[in-house]
Homo-oligomer: 189 residues x 2
DNA sequence: TGACAAGCTGAGTCTCCACTCACTATTCTC
DNA sequence: GAGAATAGTGAGTGGAGACTCAGCTTGTCA
């Protein structure tokens, strides 16, 4: 893994054009990887962003760095989303939203799956676990989730169901029924 | 997709050495893809099988054909395994065994996920659905699974949980607790 | 056992893709 | 607005991996 990518560290601030391009590249990469999976070429990202390929590599020295940067944004968004939920149904809502996203976008899941393997993002992943943990706590307090349920299996289910939704191309009905089974299991009865 | 691979069609029977090599290639491929995922090189498969790479391509004109052949064997085994189970716990046992396999081997899941995407194996996948459907029917008859549960969500959960186990590297305890939640959901209370 | 078909071999081709770098263009600073 | 620093460009490099094929080997069958 390269050292910190520009705009992450505290080095000299980026030039205006560089900031613009960096944002364009991130957006393009997110879209491209969402459509084609993490196997999509860096060239395609550059084309979509409207920059030369060299520019992509200037900002993200390796393809992995680019993936990591996207992953970080995605996770940060999820954490934010989780942070806004709560109460008895927060955890369930979070599950549903994640799955709905996963069914359409390869990136979320393709990347989620890589966390901890090729990409190291312990902090951000930790934050997500923390946020989900809080949702779990609130749900258990409200009595909508059995107290025997622990965080690791909730995370495991979250990842599983995203993977499944992605690969299986679930429609809305199947999503609902599948989650229904899991929610039943979480409730305990 | 290429036409039928040798030994699937009814053309002239394979020569003895060809049969031997075909079997070796399939075994090697299964092992290699299990370890390294479907991205492993055909060269590695040839090396492990102790044949030249040309031989692999003689038997399986494209890498996809090779993957399809392995997939077919894997699914056939799963169907056979499902066929031997039954009663109130058959479905649960099947789930547990699949997940236990998935946690160790990339192939099962990596390939399961591709069914219907790159690889076309409608018959065999259909057979698996049929076999799982029978397990579901028996479990519902025995009262261990709620009657509201339908086959599609069972398949969806099966695939999800395999994906999750694969990517997350679950240990035995996590497997058990995660499946516990799902089993609870299937039971209905 | 000889002859022919079937199968095996592996160096070589082709394509794709991550990544580089010498050069040019833009922005910033004073 | 000029000079310096920063950023952009895109043809080029290197490597990996799927797939081919001309020549050699082996099994089969009369």
């Amino acid at each position: 893994m390269s050292p910190l990518s520009p705009s992450d560290d505290d080095g000299p601030p980026l030039r205006a054009d560089a900031q613009r391009n960096r944002a364009r590249i991130l957006d393009a990469a997110e879209a491209v990887f969402a459509e084609l999976g993490a196997g999509a070429s860096t060239e395609e990202v550059a084309r979509r962003a409207g920059v030369a390929i060299g520019t992509v590599f200037r900002h993200f020295p390796t393809k992995n760095d680019l993936l990591a940067a996207i992953m970080k944004r995605l996770l940060a968004r999820l954490v934010a989303e989780a942070g806004e939920l709560g109460g008895g149904d927060g955890l369930f809502t979070f599950f549903s939203r994640l799955v709905a996203q996963a069914a359409g976008k390869r990136s979320v899941v393709d990347l989620l799956a890589r966390a901890g393997v090729e990409i190291r993002l312990p902090d951000t992943v930790g934050h997500l676990e923390q946020a989900v943990g809080e949702l779990l706590r609130q749900a258990q307090e409200a009595g909508t989730v059995a107290t025997a349920v622990r965080l690791p299996e909730v995370m495991a289910l979250l990842i599983s169901v995203c993977q499944g939704a992605l690969h299986g191309g679930w429609d809305a009905g199947l999503q609902e029924r599948t989650l229904g089974v899991i929610f039943g299991g979480l409730r305990g009865h």
